[in-house]
Amino acid sequence: MKNTFICLIVLCAIQNVFAQTNHVKSEPDELYMMNIRKGMIGIEYIDPVVGYKGDQYFNNWTYGEIFLTNGERITGLYLRYEGYLDQLLYLREDHIPCILCKACIKGFNLFDDSDNIAASFIIKKGIRLPFENDSANCFFQTLVEGEYSFYAFRKVIKLLDVFKWADDTKYYIFNNDQYERIKLRAHDLQKVSFIDKMRMKSIIKSNNIRLRNNEQEFIRAISIYNM
């Protein structure tokens, strides 16, 4: 009797697993994707600076997917984010790196070896960058998504005097159309005009969050604030 019940429970569990699997949204079929991938258009990427130490890339060539502004999605591409030019690169079959049209892209995901999303980027339009007169469309890495979103602009700069690439990541916090650039400091986060200073302070204190130069802790604080 006991065994029968155990058997029944196991079967129900398997059934639920199958039921869920059946409702997973189907992937675009390979023929369609292959056709789209084979017809990609862009310009050849040439390393703008040679001989500098380090590199200007966010990642090594990894599988990824692109979301276009017209709603299409292209999967199964080798992608790389280039932080100096703020461009998305795609590796053609003949191993020529190619810059894709930024204006046509809404965002992209980079996957790790286990096919999980390692990083997710979206285009943010009309961003005022420091020391720039004009606003720009930039690829921002999504760190927290919600009512209050937290993004990183993975900028890479040249250190001319030491011939090195240097990480110059800038962080932005968004609430609907409003956004502010912040540094990874508790003081900066509490100073954001659309954030309730008292509430944030209490979150930081009660969760023992140490924000200084700590991206992960910032992510934690804003995630809790969104709850």
């Binding site: 009797m1 017809g39 310009i43």
Partner: protein, 585 residues
């Protein structure tokens, strides 16, 4: 002991149920409920069956997945073919499908011949797998500029027929529809009230319906009216073959073959560019043919209602190329048609239809639709040129050589053995190269003799991408030179000799174009003589749960027997239809 036995039996039953459910889900995954095995059922309800060339065919489309009617149709494209019985001439258009019920219209060309036509509606996978499951309906099309025919061509199978009685029985507890007229006889300009009830409709269920009220024609035996219940049941009878081929579940697939004109053999390694004429930026797509010469493009909505230009990507001339484009039409069986003479009454009724159309054409208000916003073409890099030159900003120059020599140092137009070629300076390579993509108004253009003749009066602007090599599919160009002329045209000889041109006709549905809504003449503000033969058309009626729907409209000055037909489906995919007739005296 007895209690223990009961528990064991109960547990056993539960176990059986669980295994059964498991098998069902397992089956879904393993393919018995595979999406590719889910041919659509299609029915099209037309506002009437006798049209005059230039008039709009208004229709409501019902498309459900054969095996999962609750889901949005898997096919995203529905094709319509209007075939003239007499000579097999076809008009082809399509609509974009995004839900099970859609209404729209298609304007018949003014130059159509008068005669009997067959309207067929199908998805690509039905066309490739189960052609017997097309929706088809015979129509009469007349032409104001041409004489009314005294005989018509009809399929032999339609010749011996009468008004068929339906033998479809509706099972108990299935929703059934009733259509009732307030009276059986009306006067002219009288108010008519029709009541629609759907029995056995669940409280949270909805029936999407379309209603047409038209004057009965003397051709009902010939025109072979079908109804949605018959059409959907026919699917059940014939759906023994799975639909694995030809599913267009993303966008429209433009498919074809590229062959050699001399021997009909596939062109090896053919690289094909697809383009449209555009004054803003090129919208180019690339495809490589397989070893059999087959190629395909997935065209998104940007390419709807545009002239598609195909040509080989290489810069050499290919006069020996033959294009075999899949038209997605259905075959015409010309041999099985016969000519049937019309009676005097039938000719008179057709003449009356023409007269009514003439009155409507004179008095009707023209409704100008707003332009539908365009979607982006996809992923291309043409929007970011490195150099933009507007020749009008400089002194007048007679030809392209003068322009390049004076204002575009990166570009050289040279002549070698009486053949022009263009060299562009590539910034990254630091050298001039010939291997460039030259575009005229967005279309790859290899006739440099023509380009050489263009001066500042012809050219609106020149855009150059030369910071890096330009990559299109697996082709690498040194640079891109994109020339836009004031007339935004491609010379006709070039189009004729070097390209394949296709008209990509897509009819807007009412959801896509709000101004496309049907306005019956009685609803319009004009005070014109009202001789409507089509008294009412509403493709968007809804019945919720146990509610009923009443519709009101007026009769016209036309007398005779009128026929009201309602078709529809419930949100669970069950087809419904009913009809009622009344007289106007």
């Amino acid at each position: 002991m007895r209690t223990r036995n009961k528990i064991q039996i109960f547990t056993f039953i539960l176990l059986i149920v669980a295994i059964n459910d498991l098998l069902i889900y397992g089956g879904s995954i393993n393919g018995s409920d595979n999406p590719a095995d889910n041919c659509e059922k299609i029915f099209v309800h037309l506002d009437k069956t006798v049209y005059v060339a230039g008039e709009n065919i208004h229709y409501e489309v019902y498309v459900v997945n054969g095996k999962s009617p609750l889901q949005v149709p898997e096919s995203k494209i529905l094709y319509f073919t209007l075939t003239e019985h007499k000579n097999g001439k076809q008009i082809l258009w399509r609509i974009n499908l995004n839900k099970s019920t859609l209404h729209g219209s298609y304007q018949l060309p003014e130059n159509m011949n008068a005669g009997i036509y067959q309207l067929a509606a199908y998805t690509n996978r039905i066309r490739e797998n189960l052609p017997e499951n097309f929706f088809s309906q015979e129509l009469i099309v007349l032409n104001l500029a041409k004489e009314t025919p005294d005989s018509i061509y009809i399929p032999v199978s339609n010749a011996v027929t009468d008004n068929q009685t339906r033998l479809v029985t509706i099972p108990d507890n299935q929703p059934d529809i009733r259509l009732r007229a307030s009276k059986s006889v009306y006067r002219t300009n009288d108010k008519i009230v029709l009541e629609i009830n759907v029995d056995n409709l669940h409280l949270n269920d909805t029936a999407n319906l379309s209603l047409s009220v038209t004057k009965e024609t003397l051709f009902s035996g010939i025109l072979h009216n079908t109804n949605i219940v018959e059409q959907f049941n026919r699917y059940k009878e014939k759906n023994d073959k799975p639909c694995f081929k030809g599913l267009e579940n993303y966008t429209y697939m433009l498919t074809g073959r590229i062959l050699s004109k001399n021997d009909g053999q596939p062109v090896n390694d053919a690289k094909i560019l697809l383009a449209v004429v555009d004054s803003v930026s090129p919208k180019i797509m690339y495809s490589a043919a397989d070893s059999k010469g087959n190629f395909r493009f997935y065209l998104n909505r940007f390419y709807d209602n545009k002239e598609i230009i195909l040509q080989p990507a290489d810069n050499t001339e290919n006069p020996d190329i033959q294009w075999d484009i899949e038209k997605k039409s259905i075959p015409y069986s010309g041999s099985s048609y016969m000519s049937v003479p019309l009676s005097t009454e039938q000719v008179a009724s057709l003449n009356q239809a023409k007269d009514i159309r003439l009155i409507e054409k004179v008095y009707n208000e023209e409704i100008i639709g707003e332009k539908i916003p365009e979607t982006m073409s996809g992923l291309s890099y043409f929007a970011c040129p490195d150099i933009i030159i507007v020749p009008a900003d400089y002194s007048e120059m007679a030809n392209f050589k003068e322009i390049t020599a004076n204002i575009i140092p990166q570009l050289k137009l040279k002549n070698r053995k009486d053949n022009y070629y263009i060299e562009v300076y590539n910034d990254s390579k630091g050298a001039l190269s010939e291997n460039n993509l030259v575009l005229l108004n967005g279309v790859p253009f290899h006739d440099l003799d023509y380009i050489a003749t263009l001066g500042t009066r012809d050219i609106q602007r020149i855009e150059i991408i030369n910071s890096s090599r330009f990559l299109v599919g697996d082709i690498t160009y040194n640079a891109v030179v994109s020339i836009y002329t004031h007339d935004v045209k491609i010379p006709e000889p070039y189009i004729r000799n070097h390209t394949m041109v296709l008209q990509n006709t897509v009819a807007a549905t009412d959801e896509e174009n709000e101004n496309n809504e049907y306005v019956s003449p009685s609803q319009s503000r004009s005070h014109f003589p009202d001789f409507r033969s089509s008294l009412y058309w509403n493709p968007d009626l809804k019945v919720y749960g146990k509610n009923k729907v009443t519709v009101e409209f007026t009769t016209s000055l036309l007398t005779g027997k009128f026929h009201a037909e309602v078709h529809g489906i419930t949100s669970s995919g069950i087809p419904l239809d009913a009809s009622v007739s009344f007289n106007v005296k």
